[in-house]
Symmetry: C2
Subunit: 511 residues, 2 copies
């Protein structure tokens, strides 16, 4: 998603955590990470559930704070907080199930080529993880969001760089999290929030930080990615940057349910004033006056406020860029006035263009616009559609609306090539939190081969370690012959799922 | 491991695959990757086994070629080839077992927060993968080595940049691989070898290449890592660069079995003329005349040839650097003459220094020496040992020789912090190929959160994709309700292991 990293948030404009403060935070986080790495999954699950319960209890304080700073409506924010605490509880169960640790035991095999010694492998936490909070989900992708939850679940310490657009909420959330962790007996310093642009840069470059999770704009994310890669010791940078989220409506789907699709699109691209990383930003759809009329009728006539003045200014500038492309026409709505520091609410905007216009405009119509704007691209035939899809940048999602009897195999393959989630019904703006979710995609959608939402998000904060010929008492618990943690393990190549996790393996026995 | 990327292999000194040639290779590889992505695991297993059989059959041709170019002995090379084909067959079984695909099905849950649609996730191949062959394992880490096998196993195309020190072998191996793949019906262009320094750089920067596997020196690997990170669309660079592989001998182990440890060390650091990425390069051991005498007696008096003139020159220069550090003394052996283009065999070299010398010499004694050199570091007490271990760079391995009743918990933790494999007996130079192996470690050992040896090496060449509300006939086979591939799957959070893979789930049913 795009935010205002290059807008109103830049060097010298955010009050920074002091250098001494950052040093102290990271020293405490390092010590806490050493202790957390030794903790068992039951303990970590307890920490996460304590945080979830405390955040739920604090909703009456946190939601109004979030409303004031983000200008998002109460109902949305209350729902987002519930999603955030459900996410913390999901990661508690992920920690307990334990297959995220990939515990693996190979007994010695003298016949192997080369011979196999006693080898036991598992994933261990990286240590201190830096998390950059996003602008647009003040709960779910911020202080106690998915990055924080997934990193804590597998034994890391977390230092969050607060998003400057909701600092009071960040501080209040951090207080709730720190108190809950303290009360649950977690190591002091396991979690902290820091502030300021320069502090963020210092975090990415600090030797104590072992990985970064980031949700934000392409320019801001790429700048930090570059710093992570240029370190003397490069560290993993799991960044979610920008996403166009293309939608394809086939001729068959348009005939069968054009007005219904128009209504769905109108609701999706205007959700949260278009400030979703999964907002559908480009819709390939044949020309249809029926579809257009339904869309114009369905797009809300009410203007909505944007998250910050900087984000609003960025949206106004981006809308002006789009409208400046020759061949782009407005279907409904109007661009926000961009000058004079206007910070008023903005109207949704739908524009249209043909495929040749899109492909001829360098990438001007293929970049994300962070706000309530979508581009309808009128394709004349399958050849034009294929050329358009082949030119699309990497996205978090691609959506295909087709009829069951249409041959869209090539289209599905082409969409999968440019996206991390392929939808066949509905709209991309809902992101469920579950085992099978993937929130990521080819660059610039993410810089990672891993997801930032869903159970497997833990893999970003782990690295493998193998123990060779270790005496039992030197091994971490889940690698001992009898595993007191009872996690899913692979023994001599075969997965063993304990009964508590839905399988039939005897608990903890390395058969 | 270190090789001669900065020595005799540099811009303009290797004959390059032509630009047109590279273009054609990558065009064919891209088309083949599209087909391979649709192949089923049984087909890919058949390809890998065909390659393994063909390489075994070609041993009488390949081993003498390898001997002539690498100067390694026949027995070692024949064993390495057997390991290489065993590795190809392991990855065939990894593909068939299929848990590497992480197939995951979440049925709809309207009670979820937010509600969960029908979500089905699996890992899909990245496309075209570039592999940089290593100097020191002309079979196992070269043309048909672990990177190639693991990438093909999960449906990628592979383009190998040949190591210039064994070009004839590389061409001959490539012929065997390509013929075997053709005969097995694999898509044309699925595998190719290219040559030349500039070609390697062009590969890393080419838009068609989606990931890189590299085994080589720190300077060469870092230069290519930087190029991969600076691309308009950065790609994953899974590099194995350099490793010190520290060994700690406790006072207890020294008393109990000093001479035996000395003999083991002598065999390990001289194996393959010290040209192993896991060669023990630093040994923390208390002063002991008994140990020293046994070591001096056990170190071979016979000189061995090194892989290439460039590698030999690099070793001579590195040995001279080590000996130039004030406080470093020779225990046995002598450094090779470095000047005048001498390319003769080299003697093993053991030097010693105290902890203060090592810590005071910036990193001069903490970098890998690629050749038969190891540094004994004499520690006086536990405090000195702890300070030494805390200063160690990232390594592939760390080895602890201790008695069962000694308290080494802190030492084990400290070793795990700097290494990917922790050994408690034996020596690090053997790298078994199995499910629980991990070959990787904190930078500069590797640039990756994944292994380059063992079953999980496949994860480097895969990315997740989720399908939302897809009709059955639009889904890849392993995500359909009835999975014709019969792979391990997670359904509604529970792992299901089919009987063919050692479990009890009904084959292919999504319960």
């Amino acid at each position: 998603m795009s935010d205002d990293v290059t807008g109103d948030v830049s060097a010298g404009m955010e009050p920074d955590t002091t250098t001494t403060g950052l040093h102290d935070v990271l020293r405490a986080a390092t010590a806490a990470a050493d202790l957390a790495a030794e903790s068992d999954p039951g303990t970590r699950a307890r920490w996460l559930r304590a945080v979830a319960d405390a955040l739920d209890a604090a909703a009456p304080v946190l939601v109004p704070l979030a409303r004031r700073e983000s200008r998002l409506p109460d109902a949305r924010l209350a729902g987002e907080l519930a999603r955030t605490t459900a996410q913390l509880r999901l990661f508690a169960s992920v920690a307990l199930e334990g297959s995220c640790l990939e515990a693996t035991i190979d007994h010695p095999d003298p016949e192997g080529v080369p011979p196999v010694p006693d080898l036991r492998r598992m994933l261990v936490p990286l240590g201190v993880v830096a998390v950059f909070a996003a602008s647009n989900f003040p709960f779910a992708f911020s202080v106690a969001g998915g990055d924080t939850a997934s990193a804590l679940a597998v034994g890391n310490a977390v230092v969050v760089k607060a998003y400057p657009g909701h600092l009071e909420l960040s501080r209040a959330t951090a207080e709730v999290v720190v108190s809950a962790l303290d009360a649950a007996g977690a190591p002091s310093g396991l979690f902290a929030v820091v502030e300021g642009f320069d502090t963020g840069v210092a975090l990415v470059e600090h030797p104590a930080v072992r990985a970064v999770g980031f949700t934000g704009s392409v320019p801001g994310g790429r700048a930090l990615f570059d710093r992570a890669a240029r370190r003397p010791d490069p560290i993993p940078f799991h960044g979610e940057l920008g996403s166009l989220n293309p939608v394809v409506v086939t001729r068959g789907a348009l005939s069968a349910r054009g007005p219904e699709l128009a209504a769905g699109l109108a609701a999706s691209f205007t959700l949260g004033a278009g400030q979703f990383c999964t907002k559908p930003g480009l819709v390939a759809v044949p020309a249809s006056s029926e579809f257009d009329a339904a869309l114009v009728a369905a797009v809300p006539e009410q203007a909505a406020p944007m998250l910050t003045p900087g984000i609003r200014a960025g949206f106004a500038a981006r809308a002006a860029q789009v409208l400046a492309v020759a061949g782009v026409r407005v279907l409904t709505g109007r661009p926000p006035a961009g000058s004079g520091g206007d910070d008023g609410p903005v109207l949704p905007l739908v524009v249209e263009a043909d495929v040749a216009t899109v492909l001829g405009a360098t990438d001007m119509l293929l970049e994300e616009a962070f706000g309530p704007l979508t581009v309808l691209v009128r394709y004349a035939d399958e050849g034009e559609l294929a050329a358009l899809v082949a030119a699309l940048p990497g996205s978090l999602t691609a959506t295909i609306h087709a009829e069951g009897d249409e041959d869209v195999d090539g289209l599905v393959r082409a969409c999968r090539a440019v996206a991390g989630r392929v939808l066949f019904e509905g709209w991309p703006t809902g992101v469920a939190v579950s085992w099978a979710q993937h929130h990521g995609g080819p660059y610039p959608a993410t810089t990672s081969q891993h997801t930032s939402v869903g159970a497997t998000a833990t893999r970003r904060w782990l690295r493998p370690v193998a123990y060779q010929d270790a005496p039992q008492h030197r091994l971490p618990p889940p690698l001992r012959d009898h595993d007191p943690w009872g996690v899913v393990r692979r023994v001599d190549g075969v997965l063993q799922v304990p009964a508590a996790n839905g399988g039939d393996a005897a608990p903890g026995a390395a058969g």
